[in-house]
């Protein structure tokens, strides 16, 4: 059994500490300076892209309706698994879509990533509701709001006693798709920035053509994008602590904390990823 529901379900949002904010600003500036020092302007552009990608991922995770173990028993709304798993599924589907579309240009690749992630979440959310409604026989009802902000459907009369709601209301469905789109977009952006850096550097270091080292560059950029994706998704999951219903959930307001954390974590991981090839052949 997965442990869901942390010890601190305190009301309100605790703001980041002053020390934390100071460290964040210093780390981002140091990372940008290092990027300029290592790969000049191209490095700074790549790092900024990676930071934006990380922020998009962390922000997108907050849209995804995560129900956890209670949702598996029909006692809370959302998809019955953890934040990290869902975000990884949506983001990686987007990343694969984007990576496949990479040769067609920057814009097409980004769109491919966004559509890939959104499509996976749309299918997941639809099938979750099919199972809830036709398999478990429970209607969709949110426990956090009285009315669906989009359709205007009311929830209290459908909500079973002793539960926090159940099923996947339309607003959660929309949230899931938006989350998938943002996650796929962010993952693809990180991948595209890294693959560009590696293709120029690897062909120079190894004295090979871009075609010859393409597989290495793509593989490196892909695995780093996956790694950074998971780091950002887990930090966002820690911010949510457990379950969230979607953009209408009060916990959604916590997202600025995850955005700062993801920006710093992406900057630090990104600078190592960008500087990866600087040490090849030195030792």
């Amino acid at each position: 059994m997965t442990a869901l529901g942390g010890p601190k379900q305190t009301a309100g949002v605790q703001p980041p500490t002053g020390m934390g904010l100071a460290i964040s600003i210093i780390l981002i500036i140091v990372a940008l300076a290092l990027a300029y020092f290592l790969v000049q302007m191209a490095g700074v552009i790549a790092l900024v892209g990676i930071i934006i990608g990380g922020v998009l991922i962390a922000f997108g995770v907050h849209f995804v309706p995560v129900g956890g173990a209670p949702a598996a028993m029909g006692q809370s709304p959302g998809i019955a698994t953890g934040v990290a798993m869902l975000a990884a599924g949506a983001g990686l589907a987007g990343l694969f879509g984007g990576a496949w579309a990479a040769p067609f240009g920057f814009g097409v690749a980004l769109a491919g990533g966004a559509i890939g992630g959104g499509l996976l979440m749309a299918i997941t959310c639809t099938m979750v509701n099919v199972i809830y409604i036709f398999g478990m026989g429970i209607p969709a009802a949110s426990g956090k709001v009285e009315k669906d902000p989009i359709t205007g459907d009311t929830f209290p009369e459908y909500k079973s006693q002793g539960t926090e709601g159940h099923g996947l209301p339309f607003i959660s469905w929309v949230g899931g798709v938006v989350g998938g789109v943002l996650g796929g977009l962010g993952g693809t952006l990180i991948y595209l920035e890294l693959v560009e850096v590696y293709q120029t550097q690897l062909s120079a270091i190894l004295g090979a053509t871009v075609d010859q080292i393409a597989s290495v560059a793509i593989s490196l950029a892909g695995i780093f994008a996956v790694g950074m994706f998971l780091m950002n998704a887990v930090l966002a999951a820690y911010n949510i602590t457990g379950t969230i219903e979607g953009p209408h959930d009060p916990k959604f307001k916590r997202f600025p904390r995850a955005v700062i954390a993801a920006a710093v974590a992406s900057a630090v991981a990104g600078i190592f990823a960008i500087g990866l090839l600087e040490l090849v052949g030195v030792f």
């Binding site: 869901l4 703001p15 798993m85 457990g242 379950t243 040490l279 030792f283």
Partner: protein, 283 residues
């Protein structure tokens, strides 16, 4: 809706496991360097054993961290471990003979930043958070580096990105038939992630015993070694790969039997149930 995570008391202190895991995996990874010194590939399997040592330590760290109740499930800790670890492992691999040491340093930086973000920006306020995420990043990095060294017979970056294939009797150097170029690194990533996140997730609850959880961690580690050993047939010579396979299968079988013994020891009662057989001729 919250599920309390219960962990057993007693057993070996965490700090001792930390030292055993860190020093053990470092020494075992360096033993694969005997391949380079002696010009053979027979010592590749030490990389897998290094991963097992790191996984044992990582499981105890996850137990330590998750006893505070993260609210996001145990697997998220494994995902952030491997996510930050894979970046550190590949950055470390570019530094030749210093690879394992640089890997540990880089992983500690990335993990430490993730920990500071989790505690001071996302405000998890968990006392062991920074130390645990630092440890987990090192564990993830050592796991990836160990398994990569087992596959390719070396932990050096150029060895990981270049391989040879035989076309019509000619041996051709190519970047595509390599651990990174062939995206084997993604398989290693997932095998490590599954191994690290499973054991505590499976064993947590009342009556959790440290020796049983760690035995399951070792079992998961050896289980991940088996596919890596099979993959390594493509990269290293037949006999060394066979030795790797034998070591993994024997290790897995031993730890599996020990784990079943320990599970029976801790169980209230157990029934050696037989499969239900359909009666002959129908009922």
């Amino acid at each position: 809706m919250s599920v309390k995570v219960e962990v057993g008391a007693g057993g070996i202190p965490h700090n001792r496991i930390l030292i055993y895991g860190l020093v053990g995996s470092l020494i075992l990874i360096y033993l694969t360097y005997l391949n380079t010194i002696t010009g053979t590939q027979y010592f590749s399997f030490f990389g897998g054993l290094a991963a097992v040592a790191a996984l044992l330590w990582g499981t105890d760290t996850i137990k330590h961290l998750c006893s505070y109740g993260l609210g996001t499930g145990v697997p998220s800790a494994g995902m952030i471990a491997l996510g930050s670890g894979v970046i550190a492992a590949l950055v470390g691999a570019t530094t030749g003979i210093f690879a394992p040491i640089v890997t540990i340093i880089v992983a500690a930086i990335i993990g430490g930043v993730a920990g500071i973000m989790a505690n001071h920006i996302v405000r998890m306020d968990i006392p062991v958070m920074i130390a645990s995420l630092t440890e987990l990043a090192i564990v993830g990095a050592m796991t990836v580096l160990g398994l990569a060294a087992m596959t390719a017979g070396t932990f050096q970056f150029l060895g990981l990105i270049s391989g040879t294939i035989v076309i019509l009797g000619f041996v051709v150097e190519t970047y595509e038939a390599s651990v990174i170029g062939g995206s084997i690194i993604a398989v290693i990533f997932m095998l490590g992630a599954i191994a690290i996140q499973h054991s505590f997730n499976a064993c947590l609850g009342p009556g959790e015993k440290q020796d049983r959880t760690l035995m399951l961690a070792a079992e998961c580690g050896f289980l991940s070694m088996i596919p890596i050993a099979i993959i390594s047939f493509a990269f290293i010579a037949f006999l060394p790969a066979l030795i790797s396979l034998l070591v993994s299968v024997i290790g897995w079988f031993y730890t599996y039997m020990r784990y079943i013994e320990l599970a029976k020891r801790d169980a209230y009662a157990w029934l050696d149930a037989q499969p239900i057989l359909e009666p002959e001729g129908g009922a």
